[in-house]
């Protein structure tokens, strides 16, 4: 799995984020107070304005502390009733339709169907739920105001904040229900579609050459657009190779003369590996000098860097917290190594590489272990507790190679002028497997968080905009949220082709992004306009949520457990935003004459 940046650690993330949140809240709060004072001063004169502002702040705070759970729950209940009224069930129908016809749109021949199907259901669910949250949340309050039903609410002792909060909660409940059911259906769908088995193609079984143990190799029948190569021992037990990201175990049973082979369900297809990634990765160049990166083989993508074969070049992964308690049976290593050949070499054979385990303190090392690199596959190998050192002496993994819980694994390429490419997450210890179902649920939690955010923004916008406009504003927030990185890049001028106005001019004039704008007055005007635009963009987008941050699809789709820290950060970020939109919604509703 590709992780271009390390996910945040909750403990390290929390305090800076809370501080940032408080800072932003303080600035915005102060700005609001100053602004309302100015408006009041304009209307009633400065003396009365002071009083008005003071009263406003006082009642706001009082309102905040007199929120009643019973009233909020009543309003939430109302929102639920309203959603049911508005036939949210149509959403389910659409979802079921999508699942029914998913086969039409998905590549049946994919080389990684688990990833494909999982990302498909998760993405489809995300969009459907977000869309429904958008419709429900943005249209509800404006409809109440338009129908005047709000009159009977606000003439009760309802705090305005309760109206905002009640709606957010109500729609969140509906969203939660929907997500729950959709999740269940998705799970069944994915499990059903991906589950399959093969039969051993008995005719294809042949004795393995140069092997006296009687093992045989052959292939399985075709199922789900793929087949496996199968290797069986003399008794007929064995396993298949990895195809489409999984393998099967094969067991043989003898009934008289007849041998029947039983191919098990797919293994490693729906998993949740809990990886223990290296805490550091450093490189040695061909002369053995250390550095942060290896060499580039000319890829545009700088994620992996490469080490040259048959030289001193090496990639050294440092693992921490290696204890016999955590790894009683030795180290289960999984690695994905990219291969770059500078010449063809032996096509039939993979490039030879080696692993050495090293004590970071004493430098004591294990005997090298060689392997043939499997490009784009996850290669699993178990390092036993008892090893030998280069001189053949027996050493203990934990006693001799681990220092303060730290262990180094040194990767080298052994073939001359061939290269290995790695990034830090490419070698990890597969400490254990978490439950896939739980992982799936966690990914739905991330969708839930997004749903909550959309609901919050929808309700917030609907406190001061009419239904359609509120919906557009929320939609804009979602779109901006999904393309936040791009928008930030545009705002900071990191994207080729200039700011929004310049880009627009370029589109109209069919001008390439790389060509210079003709110098002159019009270009100056355009670029000055862009600078103003970009200044606003920089500051506005800074406050908007980054929806990509809530995207856990990759983890689930590639069979990795979503780290709890990631989930915590997502939930807390969302709570921060909910608090903010609640406050903003409350303020806007206060300044609004609902009977207009």
């Amino acid at each position: 799995m590709v992780r271009e940046t390390d996910p945040p650690l909750f403990s390290q993330w929390l305090w800076p984020s809370v501080l940032y949140f408080l800072e932003a809240a303080a600035i915005l709060g102060l700005l609001t107070v100053v602004l309302s004072f100015l408006v009041a001063a304009f209307r009633y004169g400065p003396v009365a304005a002071g009083d008005v502002t003071y009263q406003a702040v006082r009642t706001s705070l009082r309102d905040l502390f007199s929120l009643s759970p019973r009233r909020i729950s009543a309003l939430a209940w109302l929102a639920v009733q309203e959603s049911l009224r508005r036939r949210v069930l149509v959403g389910f129908a659409v979802f079921l339709l999508i699942l029914l016809f998913a086969g039409w749109f998905l590549d049946a021949n994919s080389n990684d169907p688990a990833t494909l199907y999982l990302s498909f259901v998760l993405t489809a669910t995300t969009w459907l739920v977000l869309l429904m949250a958008l419709f429900l949340s943005a249209l509800s309050l404006p409809a109440d105001i338009k129908n005047h039903t709000i009159y009977t609410i606000v003439t009760k002792p309802v705090r305005l904040g309760e109206i905002v909060l009640g709606r957010i909660l109500g729609f969140a409940v509906i969203g939660t229900l929907m997500l729950g059911i959709m999740g269940l259906f998705s799970y069944i769908f994915v499990a059903r579609v991906l589950n399959h088995t093969h039969e051993v193609d008995v005719a294809s079984l042949k004795n393995v050459p140069n092997d006296s143990s009687g093992s045989r190799a052959g292939r399985t029948t075709l199922a789900q657009n793929h087949r496996h190569q199968v290797t069986l021992d003399a008794k007929g037990n064995g396993s298949t190779d990895i195809a489409q990201g999984h393998y099967h175990n094969v067991t043989a049973s003898t009934d008289g003369d007849k041998v029947t082979y039983d191919v098990g369900p797919p293994q490693d297809l729906l998993t949740a590996r809990v990886p223990e990634f290296a805490t550091a990765l450093r490189f040695k160049d061909r002369s053995g000098k250390g550095g942060d990166r290896g060499i580039s083989v000319g890829n545009e993508w700088k994620y992996r860097s490469y080490i040259e074969g048959a030289t001193l070049a090496a990639a050294i992964f440092t693992f921490s917290d290696i204890t016999p308690e955590r790894y009683p049976n030795g180290l289960p290593i999984e690695m994905t190594i990219r291969v770059f050949r500078s010449y063809k070499g032996d096509v039939e054979k993979g490039i030879l590489g080696s692993l050495v385990l090293k004590n970071p303190k004493t430098g004591r090392a294990s005997q090298i272990e060689t392997f043939r690199a499997k490009d784009f596959y996850i290669d699993h190998r178990d390092i036993p507790r008892t090893l030998t050192d280069p001189t053949g002496k027996t050493i203990d993994l934990f006693d001799d190679l681990v220092a303060d819980g730290q262990l180094e694994i040194e990767l080298q390429c052994l073939d001359d002028s061939q290269y290995f490419g790695v990034a830090k997450p490419d070698i990890y210890l597969r400490a254990r497997d978490a439950s896939f179902t739980m992982n799936f649920a966690k990914s739905y939690l991330a969708i839930w968080v997004q749903m909550l955010l959309v609901t919050g923004f929808g309700v917030m916008f609907s406190t001061f905009l009419s239904g359609a406009v509120a919906m557009m504003a929320t939609l804009a927030t979602i779109v901006m949220g999904f393309f936040k990185q791009f928008v930030v890049d545009v705002a900071q001028g990191a994207v080729q082709g200039g700011g929004p106005i310049e880009s627009f001019v370029r589109i109209v004039k069919k001008q390439n992004v790389t060509t210079q704008m003709e110098p002159g007055l019009s270009t100056d005007v355009i670029q000055a306009g862009d600078r103003v635009f970009m200044w606003f963009m920089t500051h506005v987008t800074g406050l908007l949520p980054d929806f990509r941050q809530f995207d856990n699809v990759d983890y689930v789709a590639h069979g990795f457990d979503i780290p709890p820290d990631v989930v915590l950060v997502q939930v807390f970020t969302a709570l921060g935003y909910i608090a903010a939109v609640f406050a903003i919604g409350y303020l806007f509703l206060r300044t609004r004459e609902v009977a207009r």
Partner: protein, 294 residues
């Protein structure tokens, strides 16, 4: 009767502005009112005269352009006043997808009432407005009269001290109208203050203690109904069993006192007369204000 002021407006004005802040309509001009505990106060006026605006200002649904609206001595925008207030809007703006019980329970919850109390109040009120037979039906199936009744029930859910009724009898049949009026009088007898606005003069005349007549946002007349309707320079004589001669004799007596016989027919609804006179007068001489009530 207590003289505590429950509702007070001071110089209350409201301008409606368009999107650009330009003044469009001056809906209410410097209204001064005081409504005391226990009275039934009627706001009268033709459509667009500012009655509903006044009520909305008192409820905090609108913010005054200038002046003050006080309810229970607190600013009308203060939420806490709502604890003791009931409001029946002009049309029953209720959630049509709820049934009667759900509706009342919902509004009860908005008053933070415990479940048991809510249950009891709901049953009482449904009984009171006579909707027991239809309490499980969604409001969208209700007729206009039924909707009014459930609207009234929700206004009373918190047993309010002050009740604001916007056109309480509109859409009701004669029997319904009568029942509504009886109910209003019953509320008064329980010591509650009622502020109602209407353009149906008969209703107001029957139940209101005091009325204010608004026209084009201005207060035109204010006072006790009986005082207002007493036309001091007119005498109405109604009798039974008088002979032609006796009638002539009465006529002559009146003539002797320099009076003129106007009619000896059935009396007209004089509130209507008064109202029409005010409207005519107001249109002829805009800007004339009502004499301050004494």
């Amino acid at each position: 009767m207590s003289s505590e002021v429950v509702v007070e407006t001071r110089n209350l004005s409201k301008d409606y502005r368009d999107f650009w802040g330009r003044q469009k309509v001056r809906a209410l001009k410097a209204l001064d009112l005081e409504i005391r505990r226990g009275e039934i106060f009627g706001l009268l006026g033709p459509n667009g005269s500012g009655k509903t605006t006044t009520i909305k200002l008192l409820l905090g649904l609108l913010f005054p352009t200038s002046g003050q609206a006080l309810v229970f001595g607190r600013d009308a925008t203060d939420v806490s006043k709502n604890e003791r207030l009931g409001y029946l809007p002009e049309e029953s703006y209720l959630y049509r997808f709820l049934n009667a019980e759900e509706t009342l329970d919902f509004y009860g919850r908005l008053f933070d009432m415990p479940a048991a109390v809510r249950k009891q109040r709901t049953a009482e009120l449904i009984d009171l407005v006579g909707l027991n037979w239809a309490k499980r039906r969604q409001l969208k199936e209700y007729s206009k009269g039924m909707a009014r009744r459930i609207g009234l029930a929700q206004a009373l859910i918190n047993d309010p001290e002050l009740i604001m009724l916007d056109e309480p009898t509109s859409g009701l049949d004669p029997i319904g109208t009568r029942e509504m009026k009886d109910l209003i009088l019953k509320l008064k007898s329980q010591g509650k203050t009622v502020l109602m606005c209407s353009h149906l003069l008969a209703d107001v005349q029957d139940v209101c203690d005091r009325i204010a007549i608004l026209h084009q946002g201005e207060l035109k007349e204010l006072g006790r109904v009986d005082t207002l309707l007493k036309v001091r320079d007119e005498t109405e004589i109604r009798a039974r069993g008088l002979s032609e001669a006796a009638q002539n004799e009465i006529r002559s007596v009146i003539e002797r006192h320099h009076g003129t016989v106007l009619s000896l027919d059935n009396p007209t609804t004089t509130l209507e007369e008064l109202f029409l006179a005010i409207v005519r007068d107001s249109e002829a001489r805009p800007g004339r204000r009502a004499k301050q009530d004494s």
